[in-house]
Amino acid sequence: MKKLKAAIQYECMTSFKYIWYFYAIQYAIVLLISLIVAIGTGSFDNIGSNCLEINSLIFVGILGALGYREDFRMLIQNGFTRKYIFIATVSLYLFISGIMALVDTIMGNVLHAVRPDYFSLYGALYGYHNVLINWLWLFLVYMAVCFLLYLMILVINRIGKTASVCLGVALGGCVLLVFALFRFVLPGRTVAAIAEFARNAMGFMGDGTVYHAFPVLTLLLLGGILGIGSFAIIRRTELK
């Protein structure tokens, strides 16, 4: 356990500062845009940017994916097993996602309170009723994105560049095919049912109410599947 703790600490402590670099840069840019808008329009009523969480989403994805190679090599050199490395990586994702969800929840709510025309991603979708659910939702979305990119980078690393490109093209083809299927092949009733299911899964019920437990469960399930997939690959991953 002591060694696992050390590996987790390593992952978290060496990434911690990057979170704050990211926020410093993000809010500096937001401030700059606001200033430009303010100078242009002569008023401070517009913040100019909405849904700042999208940036965080991209950032956690990049951190999750880019960190893989260096950390895997470093921890393998220091004698850790892939199982330990996986647990440490998951802990890092929990850590980053937790902190960033917290910051984004607080900032989203504060910004909205100060400037009612600013909408956070969560606020725009679900409103501003429950701060705790806001945090949980963001946290799970970030986690899911981390796992998705982790899985992607593991797959790319495993099958090589050429095969990855082929796989990407094939997946793109599949997406187009599915869209075509929805538009032209499947009967309207089925499409409507699937759309309804997707809305329900994210908590938007048919009668206009919002059921928060559903997106939580959906995201947990998604994260779980991606996580298991990642583990299945990393436990067979060799150093290159």
Binding site: I76, G79, R82
Partner: protein, 286 residues
């Protein structure tokens, strides 16, 4: 069993067989020279021992414990590798501090003292170090760990003569007090010839020979003279290679030295390890 046991290990890359059913042991308490030409399979085997890649068949046991994906060997085995796996943005002193958290048997004070001996600036980031000092950093990390088995993969690459000397000094200084097995994989055979006690020679994915250095030096010799005389002498003996200089022929042999016939014009001379390996691996190439 106190050893690193390699049992029937096979590793293939597509249609290339890097290791072909390799079985042997590194016994505890010795200094090994693990030798072979480029592409012979040295690094592949080291990477399998260190759980960096997986064997397709067979297994590696460290003191009887399977080494694959097993934290039980964490305090037993360390591998200093030629490849740079260390985080490049971390300072040397931070690397040491993390190693102290990762390993119970890491001696932090010793790491800093050794760094001072090598004049390594611990406030530098890994990526800012020269190639030579990156090697030195990796050596210090390995020397500061009191593990039972330590593998050095090309340890003195990029080091100047003074630093090489210092490395061998430190290695031997600790060896007696610590009870360790040291495995040195290298091309620079002559440099380690007096240090290594036993030799494992690998060629084309197979173990060509495992023998004590003394025995090798006792049994390996060179016969030179007129081609006809040399050929007569060599008949029925284990010849591992020839060199020719005009009408002078040199034969390299392994085995008991037979007395030269009375009045013979042949000359016997010792064969050093370097020559021995060049000849042995050349033979494998024909």
């Amino acid at each position: 069993m106190n050893a690193i046991q390699i049992k029937n290990v096979t590793k293939r890359y597509h249609d290339v067989t890097a290791l072909d059913h390799v079985s042997f042991s590194f016994a505890f308490g010795k200094i090994y020279g693990f030798l072979g030409r480029n592409g012979a399979g040295k690094s592949t085997l080291i990477n399998i021992i260190a759980n960096r890649i997986f064997a397709d068949e067979g297994e590696v046991l460290v003191d009887g414990i399977p080494a694959r994906e097993n934290m039980l060997v964490h305090e037993k085995l360390f591998c200093m590798s030629e490849a740079d796996l260390y985080e490049k943005n971390l300072k040397v002193k931070d690397h040491f501090k993390w190693m102290q958290r990762f390993y119970d048997c890491f001696d932090l004070d010793k790491a800093f003292q050794t760094a001072e001996k090598f004049e390594l600036d611990v406030n530098q980031k890994f990526k800012a170090l020269s190639k030579g000092y990156q090697s030195i950093f990796k050596l210090i990390a390995a020397l500061s760990l009191n593990v039972r088995y330590v593998i050095f993969d090309e340890p003195v690459l990029g080091l100047d003569a003074n630093h090489r000397e210092l490395f061998y000094d430190l290695l031997l200084r600790d060896f007696e007090t610590r009870e360790q097995t040291i495995i040195i994989a290298t091309h620079l055979i002559e440099e380690v010839a007096n240090i290594i006690e036993e030799v494992v020679l690998i060629d084309k994915g197979k173990v060509l020979l495992q023998e004590s250095t003394d025995t090798l030096l006792e049994t390996g010799y060179c016969i030179s003279g007129l081609a006809q005389d040399v050929d007569d002498y060599c008949r029925g003996k284990n010849v591992i290679g020839y060199d020719e200089l005009g009408s002078l022929k040199l034969a390299y042999l392994l085995g008991e030295k037979a007395q030269l016939p009375q009045g013979s014009h042949l000359q016997i001379s010792p064969m050093n390890l370097q020559k021995l390996f060049v000849k042995l691996t050349e033979k494998g190439g024909n």
